[in-house]
Amino acid sequence: MHVHVPTSVDEVLGLVGQGVIVAGCTGIYPHLGPDQSIISLRKAGLSGVETDGAAVRVGATTTLTQLAREVPFLRDAIASIASPTIRNMATVGGNLFARQPHGDLAVCLLALDAQIDKTGDLVTSVSFKVPERWYYTKAMRRKQNSASIVTVASDGVRIALGGVAPQPVRALAAEAKLAEGDIDGAAEAALEAADPFDDAYASAWYRRRVLPVHVRRALTNAV
């Protein structure tokens, strides 16, 4: 096996296909076999947060800890992900590839209509605007360091859900109800976007049952 540690994006692109791309090594890396080569993005120069007014550009290998430091409105959401030690390692780009019921930051980015910037097939950064309003809630088995049962993120217009479908999803029917000012209607309509699964944290039945409750709670509690 090889451990590639490229020091530029060009060098990464030249290595594509020669190993699994990793950054924080918290998501995919623990599940790799001992003979699988990796391409680490740790020194590829993709880390950092740039802000210009409300516009934010986040380098792909920025850690969740760094992002929370620089972008205050996301702090509650980031604090709901894993533990401080893992947040020191896990990256923004990596979160996009986290399998549900993980990937709560990806749910936030979906609600923010974030743009993913790529060079070739490599995610290099993620861009979004700081919203005027922000709503976030995550239901989990414990108060901290647990995967999602239901995650709800919204800027008051778009609503994105985690934990209730194979990928983070937009709840479009719920957004239509929210646009009419009907929060109870939005809560019920969110079920149209749900395609939940059973796992060790909750059953599909339970996720469907509590989804409207958490959508309603999220939309009535602005961060």
Binding site: H2, V3, T26, Y29, S83, P84, T85, N88, Q144, N145
Partner: protein
């Protein structure tokens, strides 16, 4: 791929060693450098007993391929311990029965050291958050939280 030469500053001393491809920081510490305070529990980043500091931040050393941190500064539990005696945090663990079987203790202390370095006056909730990535299967969390709060009070 041939093995690579890795240079790290570990607990203040310059270390240079040869690592086979895919060696984790935890493996290098334990098997090459003989620093066995950090333990291998789960090996997938969920138990926290391998917690060390890399460039000042607490990380799960079982998830760090050592080639990716070549040139970094690493601190382990051994590095925080004075030549004679214990740190206030270690003493508080001892005095407050926060160590039961002891397997989680190195990780708990390194997670707590990171907390106290950033926040010398933590609330109880801050402490709970700081050790939320560390599992104690004796379930001795209450005495661990107490010990960290007592150490914070003693040193603040």
């Amino acid at each position: 791929m041939p093995s690579s030469v890795i240079e790290l500053t570990v607990n203040g001393s310059e270390e240079e060693f040869i690592a086979k491809p895919g060696t984790t920081l935890l493996g290098a510490l334990r098997d090459t450098l003989g620093l066995t305070a950090a333990k291998r529990g789960c090996g997938v980043g969920t138990c926290g007993t391998c917690t060390c500091h890399v460039d000042g931040e607490a990380v799960m050393s079982c998830l760090v391929p050592v080639e990716t941190i070549n040139g970094s500064t690493v601190t382990t539990l051994e590095g925080t311990t004075p030549a004679d005696g214990l740190t206030p945090l270690q003493q508080a663990f001892l005095d407050n029965f926060a160590t039961q079987c002891g397997f989680c203790t190195p990780g708990m202390i390194m997670a707590a050291e990171a907390l106290l370095a950033a926040n010398p006056n933590p609330s109880r909730e801050d402490v709970v958050t700081a050790i939320s990535g560390n599992v104690c299967r004796c379930t001795g969390y209450e005495s661990i939280i107490e010990a960290i709060l007592i150490a914070a009070e003693a040193t603040a």
